[in-house]
Symmetry: C2
Subunit: 338 residues, 2 copies
């Protein structure tokens, strides 16, 4: 019953194969090319014994782990889920594990995770945060090796960054609205202090201005459905409401659309809609939602790539801007009044 399992270690493999630990270790780490017969013996010993390296010992010895940390607000959001999937895949391909950390955009948890990672825990840190950032966080991030900022820039942090072309996203939305004849456009944004929010707004505004249209209503808030519901209420209570709305995220859009449905507002007949972020089955929505699509898989893949470069000593302060595109579906139509 109390059968104490024998766990083979490197030295067991070495003894069985008739070589030293060093040889086995270096062979396993491809530090060394072994004569065919020696290699053979080692391989056999490993198989016979069922040897599996102990990752902790390995990590302790070399001072880093083959794991990367992924810090995101929440995995429950399709955008981040897709991002995590891409990161996981890219990491797996490089033989790296992914340590997942959800922060709920909570500053102290972010700080805590970064601190833990920073030590030795991971060989790289992929960080996404969508709120105002304290100097402490900025400081901690700047002290972190192998850091890559994803999706949202953080002013003052000097690291590799993989971001989207938010301005262009706003512009595409504005252009599309304008082409359909809209003149009064609303912007329902995320937190107003974020660069991404401002960029999306700026793109929208500039595209509108090109065609004598304008953004007549702006509202900012958290990336949450509740914010979308609030926005819907505000929008509907306006004396002269806009005819088109650009929503800055999927979460917000869900709340907004929900409230619009409940209020019996016809989309796109009475209100046209474009959402930034094409995660989730938006094509099955009522109506199918026109969206700004971000290449999420590429975001994750590039991030892992840059992380590897950054942790390999390359102090590249690279900033990558990924392009976005407009996916036309059925939530935009000419305004009723035209």
């Amino acid at each position: 019953m109390t059968q104490r399992r024998f766990i083979p270690g490197l030295k067991d493999v070495a003894r069985t194969a008739g070589v030293s630990m060093t040889t086995v270790s270096r062979y396993l780490n491809a530090d060394l090319v072994l004569p065919p017969d020696t290699a053979q013996r080692v391989d056999t010993a490993i198989r016979q014994l069922g040897y599996v390296p102990n990752p902790h010992a390995r990590s302790l010895g070399r001072g880093r782990s083959d794991t990367i940390g992924l810090v995101i607000p929440t995995i429950a959001n399709p955008f981040f889920a897709l991002l995590a999937a891409a990161v996981e895949e890219a990491a797996e391909a490089k033989g790296l594990g992914v340590l997942l950390n959800a922060t709920s955009n909570n500053a102290s948890r972010e700080l805590q995770h970064v601190a833990r990672m920073r030590r030795n825990q991971v060989s790289g840190l992929l960080f996404v945060s969508a709120h105002y950032h304290t100097p402490e966080l900025v400081q901690a991030l700047n002290d972190t090796r192998g850091l890559v900022l994803i999706d949202e820039d953080i002013p003052g942090v000097h690291s590799a960054k993989v971001l989207y072309d938010n301005y262009r996203g706003g512009w595409l939305a504005g252009e599309h609205f304008v082409e359909h004849g809209h003149r009064r456009i609303a912007f329902i944004g995320g937190p107003s202090e974020l660069a991404s929010t401002r960029d999306r707004f700026a793109g929208l505004r500039d595209a509108a201005a090109q065609a004598d249209a304008e953004v007549t209503f702006e509202m900012y808030g958290a990336y949450a459905a509740a914010h979308g519901e609030d926005a819907a209420r505000a929008l509907l209570s306006l004396g002269r409401p806009p005819t088109a709305v650009f929503v800055s995220s999927g979460e917000i859009m869900i709340g907004l659309l929900d409230a619009l449905h409940r209020a019996g507002v016809a989309v796109p007949e009475r209100l046209s809609l474009i959402v930034f972020d094409d995660a989730g089955p938006l094509h099955l929505f009522d109506p199918p939602l026109t969206a700004i699509r971000q290449p999420i898989a590429e975001l994750g893949a590039r991030a892992v790539e840059l992380m590897l470069a950054a942790s390999h000593g390359d102090p590249a302060e690279t900033e990558v801007r990924l392009p976005v595109e407009l996916v036309k579906r059925a939530s935009v139509a000419p305004p009723a009044s035209v």
Copy 2:
């Protein structure tokens, strides 16, 4: 420039605080209650030095890590994303990290992940797999301490399990269809060899039988949109098609609904629909989808709980069956012919 950073260790803290390493170590692990002044000195030293424990050394020393492994098919699916979120949250609350592994339901990757975990890597393993299982996998899982099977049972594996009441889910769907007057019902299932698939079917069939209705069409396949599209094609080519369809997962449903839309089939007028799995914003779909809801957050939380119990030596072969419920929306209506 080449500033070599001094990294404080436990012994630095000990020296600074004027105590021994043991004292600090045990204090930090709450193994020990220190006199207020001593505790004070230690705390101060830690803060001054900016000491952060090295988790690798810790793990190596104690033979286990404060990390749990989560092995799922893919994080890109909302169901698993929500599950991962729940697990992450529960783990975080217990001070545990989550190591994420996506397998794409690939047997060899599953085996590989389990092997790595098994060694020492994690203190518990949460495992989800939705396909036929090889004896090797079953063997490996049975050799794993702190294992909890989630969502899908694997015959022959003796461990704690947290599953849903799939039969009841099928029954609720069947009952709902029957109440609306449906007599010919279709079942679009996942892989036919899975217990969950069979249970959902059995529930549906039995509920139908109670009311002189029957399941006139069955089709099985992967949990993928493509399977749903195939199913839609098959359904539409039937001479005397069913009037209601119970779909076994969200992924399948997405493909099915997409194909149905393209074919111009009115839902629910011509075909009523219920989907097992209420992840994602199904209430915004066209039409809002009636669904069997599974308590995903509870699934994750219970799994972590059981894992902790299992790894604390408690060889509990507990099996938890979580209840499901019917969420009525607008995708079920009486059949046209009635």
